[in-house]
Symmetry: C2
Subunit: 145 residues, 2 copies
DNA sequence: CAGTAAGTGAAAAATATTATCATTTGTAAT
DNA sequence: ATTACAAATGATAATATTTTTCACTTACTG
């Protein structure tokens, strides 16, 4: 995981944002996790180390991290708002374990043919898509036998 | 649109639900629309004709209609909970106009190859997906020039 | 070290959804 | 038709989620 404090500071400053301990704490929690996390979950994890951060700041920070492409906001099987470290820089999607929340990023969604076909058939101008795959990760799958 | 009152009544009764005027009103509003509607929007439309239906009943009714596969619950570009008449009976997805909300259903999402590849690579047991396409319908596209 | 704009926390407000409960009503059996 | 009763409803309250406001604090600049 190549997310040095320096790099974060750089990205924030580049865009005129200050590097506050709160922002650092939030990013640290997200960077440490390979599962998606809700704002509430992030709040709780942040609190274990740093108990004077308000939930509001979590929300505000997440908005900024999202804007700077440092995190992905995603739709989990059980909720429409959670966040992940953004690890691939290119267009990608998420395969999510509905039991433990673990996420595997994948590229190559390859919807262009479908989109072309539909654009032709419907005359829509298609400009985006939402795609998430759900399932059970190997660990949870074994555990459930 | 082949949604006769009789047919609705039948589906409801088959599953032990009563056919109330409220349920009929909700379904009528949804059946008349080719755009996705939020619970609030449905509430407002229902009220134009029938002002004594509570929002709670809208929610309850939508749950049931969803369970009976009479409506689709979907993710719109601007919100994670809206409803559409379910017109195709088979597995399908939605192409949504982000300006007017109009929805075109389409089948043939064809994610099986992708899912197979990922199942092999990740050892996940994949059991579902969320897919919505977004764009501008021909009318809104023209209007925006 | 200031000076200052940006950031923060606490609280309140705005939204969205679900639960509770007394009353009403659709249905089916008289 | 009348009745019996489980199911459904509306009003209200409760819960949950997200945003706004504002006085105070702090990270950055020079
Ligand atoms: Zn991602
Ligand atoms: Zn994609
Ligand atoms: Zn549909
Ligand atoms: Zn599909």
């Amino acid at each position: 995981m190549k997310l040095t404090a320096n790099k974060i500071a750089g990205v924030l400053r580049e865009h005129g944002y200050k590097l506050t301990p709160q922002r650092h704490a939030v990013l640290k929690v997200i960077a440490a996790s390979y599962a998606h996390l809700t704002p509430e979950a992030i709040y709780e994890k942040v609190h274990l180390e740093n108990s004077d951060i308000g939930l509001v700041t979590i929300y505000r920070t997440l908005d900024i991290l999202r804007e700077l492409n440092l995190v992905c906001r995603m739709h989990a099987p059980d909720g429409c708002r959670s966040y992940m470290m953004r690890r691939p820089t290119e267009h990608h999607h998420h395969l999510v374990c509905s039991s433990c929340g673990r996420v595997v990023d994948f590229a190559g969604c390859d919807l262009v043919d479908l989109e072309k076909r539909l654009a032709r058939e419907t005359r829509f101008e298609i400009n985006g898509h939402l795609l998430e795959l759900y399932g059970l990760c190997p660990d949870c799958n074994l555990a459930s036998r």
